[in-house]
């Protein structure tokens, strides 16, 4: 029996209360919350930087806060720091309780989390110092990738061993998620960081990784945690006998296939653009199945939900979760994509998923865990203030980005149609000027959210001390899951799901994408190693220019005037990261074919003081680059004919 008996004399404690994993769980949780706070700061700085580009200029190390660096720092901290650590804490906490055994290899888990934290810190610091590489959510350099891949593998093994040690061959819904999700994390991440692909296929590779990490790891682990959370808090909650099954398999099968939703009209094959519509629409079913299973289980017990801070947070997260496939469908339909692609809608998705659904969920799980291990429950008022700040902040930030995106997209479309507008240079003013104001609002939204997080962190710190295992966590041992499945079936199914996801969004497109270099690629983008242009391209990627500038011209009305339409062979000589994700600045695919960007001296001057000629520019000033670096970057941009 554990030491908790002394401190928590609860009648149900005569079942097991594994205390050993508590230390590993707490360490994961503590690091997660730390990464959360730092990540949010960088997120605020990133959006604030668009509104006030010169705010931090002139201070030492201020280049760390440029949008092109702070945004990937924030997203990597939030996804691989905060959410991954937090959900691993939840996995290590719940799996032993669900299977009635102790966590396998608790010491290895402790060492592993240190390696993982080292990987995240080194990677994020490298991005900040200008050593980032291309690909969304893959910006960290190879040494961080290696550390993370190894520690993800170890985490998956720990969970697998724990389940094996329990001797159970039939397990309930949450255990399915906990068995599959860590493996999906390891496999998706590894598939994403395997080097060797360039150009358009590499772009697909990173799109796959970002999508799979969101759906197969974060969403899956958090949903599994949700089942365990509800069962812990409301033991009389009854889950549906089939919805859990529908949700688990469809979530895994469908989510990764939506990866092409941000590639509509891109230089990839046409079929790549139909698939995400199909699967985003079908994902509505998966998400509804999960949300319905949760809400049917707590129906009639809403008072318990309102009373319990973790359940309240979890419910708010689930509400945002339901919005995710809706957002995906809008992004992937071509008629709406023609308007909103490259606008604030791209970041709105990140905020909706990362802050809205995933962070609220993970916080709910950590709140439960910390309350449980410390034996100190969260007050109702804590829950209310935290969820109000976080829900309000997310809605505010996401809402402003939605509105901004629509405004920007329609301005582009109407401008080109009326013939009164050019897509580049001063003409871009029409769409850039109103953004500054709305990004202030986005930054405020994130800041409101951060207030909630700080409140949460204060409460969390007070709950790291206790040594209890109480609060009914052990109710899980006897909780009867209406639907059970064999562990082996879950494992095989999870492997199958991942194989299918790989095939869909990685193998097929890589084969399908026309990698034969086009004339354009051979003539203007095939740089000699060590040349100024090659160095310039590396800088272009490391400085994160591609978060605001695209290099792809689509065959649609909005892009008329930007030069020849891009083909996938145009990128044959490029690493991932040149296609770009949004247009806070004009497209640069053929910047070297138009004035004034064809003049590298003008580009240097513009990089050093963007607002000298164009007072509306939101671009950060790149005075921290050396003269050689500036010349290289300018040579690269002016050479994009």
């Amino acid at each position: 029996m554990t030491s908790s008996e002394d401190t928590q004399p609860e009648p149900m404690d005569d079942t097991v209360a594994p205390a050993k994993p508590a230390r590993a769980v707490k360490l994961h949780a503590a690091l997660a919350i730390l990464f959360f706070i730092i990540g949010l700061e960088f997120l605020i700085i990133a959006y604030g930087g668009i509104a006030w580009p010169d705010l931090l200029a002139g201070n030492s190390y201020s280049e760390y806060f440029n949008y092109g660096r702070s945004l990937p720092m924030a997203l990597n901290l939030l996804v691989f720091g905060w959410l991954t650590f937090g959900l691993l804490a939840a996995t290590y906490f719940f799996v032993p309780r669900l299977t009635g055994t102790n966590l396998a290899l608790p010491v290895v888990a402790m060492i592993n989390v240190v390696v993982m934290a080292g990987g995240v810190i080194a990677g994020v610091a490298a991005i900040g110092a200008g050593y980032g590489v291309g690909g969304r959510l893959l910006e960290m350099p190879w040494y961080s990738d290696l550390a993370l891949a190894v520690s993800f593998l170890v985490s998956a093994l720990i969970v697998t061993l724990t389940v094996r040690r329990s001797g159970l061959d039939h397990v309930g819904v949450p255990v399915w998620y906990f068995i599959a999700a860590p493996w999906w994390l390891f496999l998706s991440f590894t598939a994403g960081v395997i080097p060797g692909l360039g150009g358009a296929p590499a772009e697909l590779q990173s799109a796959f990784t970002a999508t799979a990490v969101f759906g197969l790891w974060i969403a899956s682990a958090a949903v599994g945690g949700g089942y365990a959370l509800i069962a812990s808090r409301i033991p009389e909650a009854e889950f549906h006998p089939r919805l859990g099954r529908i949700g688990f398999w469809s979530l895994g099968l469908l989510w990764a296939w939506t990866a092409g939703r941000t590639l509509q009209y891109s230089p990839m094959g046409d079929w790549m653009e139909t698939v995400p519509v199909l699967f985003s629409a079908a994902l509505v079913v998966a998400v509804l199945a999960v949300a319905a299973d949760f809400s049917l289980a707590v129906r009639g017990k809403l008072d318990s939900v309102a009373q319990s801070m973790p359940l309240r947070l979890y419910a708010a997260g689930t509400a945002f979760f339901v919005l995710i496939p809706a957002h995906m469908v809008v992004q992937s339909l071509r008629s709406s994509s023609a308007v909103i692609r490259f606008t604030g809608w791209e970041s709105a998705f990140d905020l909706l998923a990362v802050l809205g659904a995933f962070s609220l969920w993970t916080m709910a799980l950590l709140a439960h865990i910390l309350g449980s291990v410390s034996g100190r429950e969260w007050g109702r008022r804590w829950g209310a203030s935290i969820s109000v700040a976080m829900v309000g902040g997310t809605l505010f930030a996401v809402g402003t980005l939605w509105v901004t995106g629509l405004q920007q997209g329609y301005t582009w479309l109407a401008g080109v149609k009326s013939g009164a507008y050019a897509n580049s240079g001063d003409g871009f003013f029409n769409t850039a000027a109103p953004l500054q104001g709305t990004y202030v609002l986005t930054a405020i939204g994130v800041a409101i959210f951060a207030v909630g997080v700080l409140l949460f962190a204060v409460g969390a710190i007070r709950r790291f001390g206790g040594s209890g295992d109480g609060d009914g966590a052990d109710l899980l041992v006897g909780y009867t899951w209406p639907d059970q499945e064999r562990v082996a079936v879950v494992r095989r199914g999870a492997a199958f799901v991942f194989g299918l996801a790989m095939l869909a969004v990685f193998v097929f497109p890589a084969v399908d994408a026309d990698r034969e270099p086009t004339l354009l690629a051979d003539m203007t983008r095939d740089y000699e190693a060590g040349s100024a242009e090659a160095q310039g391209r590396d800088l272009y990627i490391a400085e994160g220019c591609w978060y605001c500038h695209t290099q792809q011209v689509r065959a649609i009305v909005t892009d008329v005037g930007l030069g020849p339409v891009s083909a996938s062979g145009d990128y044959a000589h490029d690493p991932a990261g040149t296609l770009g994700v949004a247009r806070l600045g004009p497209d640069l695919a053929h910047a070297g074919s138009r004035s004034p960007t064809d003049d590298s001296d003008w580009v240097v001057a513009h990089l050093v003081d963007p607002r000298a000629e164009r007072d509306w520019s939101t671009m950060p000033a790149y005075y921290h680059l050396t003269d050689t670096e500036l010349t290289s970057l300018a040579a690269y941009i002016a050479g994009l004919e």
Partner: protein, 384 residues
């Protein structure tokens, strides 16, 4: 031991083999005997007498079969023993019901009582689901999941749940039913089980969505496998030589420039040409066909102006007895209305260009030059 195992399996709704294995593992981990673990799991040492030893519902082995899995009535407690309603037992009952630690229940109750201006005792009683003065159902000690009543009861329940519309009302009332079941006849237990079975069904709107959404996705994939055609969703064509995005007819994109081919196609459909000359220009009944050289023999290259005039005036307004290069008799193959009033000059030119290119096989640039819609004119209008 066997009895205990059966009871525990019953209580946990799991196969006995699995229960036995978990119990062994648990016992080893805790350093207690297997019997102790089983006793705890089966409901606190005593096998509830009212629980008939029924056939295992076996949802685990055949999880895909809805009939077998549709009845997980964990929430239904067997008629529990009654005890005097002292405060501690009320708190325990409330804590049990709400799945919260007692300390927290106590605290929340005090807060709620303060907010509502009633006594904490009343709040607790409400939460515990007992009336004042009534006896309190004592939760079975150390039985986390209340012992499940066997599935057969639910199966034999009247078909009431089927007629319940969406399960909403049924679920809403479930709590009361479960509460009253504690004090009343077992018939209520049956009813509440029926409600639980109904809760196992999907709400109808969701079942409809589950059918509709994949159907939509499938239809989308079937009918738009390669995305929209040029012209839909603001998409344009790509000029093979320059690589620039251009209008669907290959002319340069520009605000002043009208895509005459597309306009012609729309006009051909909209103005009614299609009724007599057919959707693919093959003619209908006696009305002349444009295909197979029909159009270009009457109005050969270089004589588009005559075609424009014919479309404007037609059989009613044509000043001569024959028309076109082949001297066709006016009215010889049916009556055609003049479109001078209905269409603008541009629309007439557009429809002529469309007919000549789509049905006559003339080159687009030649047709544009012939009928007066030069592509260069459009670019000039942009002021470039």
């Amino acid at each position: 031991m066997e009895e205990l195992l059966a009871a525990a399996a019953e209580a946990m709704n799991s196969p006995a083999s699995m229960v036995e294995r978990s119990a062994t593992a648990r016992a080893k981990a805790d350093g207690v005997s297997v019997e102790d673990v089983l006793r705890a799991w089966s409901g606190g040492g005593e096998i509830v007498a009212s629980t008939p030893v029924a056939a295992d519902p076996a949802p685990v082995d055949t999880p895909v079969e809805p009939a077998a899995t549709a009845t997980p009535p964990q929430a239904v407690t067997p008629p529990p023993a009654v005890a005097p309603a002292d405060e501690a037992s009320i708190i325990a009952a409330a804590a049990e019901k709400m799945g919260m630690p007692e300390s927290m229940v106590k605290r929340s109750a005090a807060a709620r009582a303060k907010a509502q201006g009633i006594s904490a005792d009343e709040v607790l009683r409400e939460w515990a689901g007992v009336e004042a003065g009534e006896s309190v159902p004592v939760p079975a000690p150390s039985a986390p999941a209340p012992a499940a009543t066997p599935a057969p009861a639910a199966v034999s329940a009247p078909p009431a749940p089927v007629s319940a519309p969406l399960g909403v009302e049924v679920l809403g009332g479930q709590d009361e039913q479960v509460d009253s079941a504690a004090a009343e006849a077992p018939v209520d237990v049956l009813e509440s089980e029926a409600a639980a079975a109904a809760a196992g069904a999907l709400p109808r709107w969701m079942a409809a969505l589950f059918v509709f959404i994949p159907a939509f996705a499938l239809a989308y994939g079937l009918f738009l496998p390669n995305g929209p055609n040029c012209g839909d969703a603001a998409s344009l064509a790509v000029d093979p030589v320059t690589g620039l995005a251009v209008n669907c007819d290959g002319s340069e994109f520009g605000s002043e420039l009208v895509d005459l081919f597309t306009l012609g196609s729309e006009t051909y459909q909209g103005a009614g040409c299609v009724a007599c000359h057919g959707p693919s220009g093959g003619g209908v009944a006696t009305f002349p066909a444009f295909t197979g050289g029909g159009l270009l023999s009457t109005f050969p290259e270089g004589s588009c102006s005559i075609q424009l005039e014919w479309i404007a005036l037609a059989t009613g307004g044509w000043p001569e007895a024959t028309y076109g290069a082949t001297a066709r008799p006016v009215g010889g193959s049916g009556t055609m209305p003049g479109f001078a009033a209905a269409l603008s000059a541009q629309e007439i030119a557009a429809v002529a260009i469309y007919e000549r290119v789509a049905f006559g096989g003339q080159d687009l640039d030649a047709a544009l030059a012939d009928c007066g819609g030069s592509p260069a004119g459009g670019a000039a209008a942009l002021g470039e």
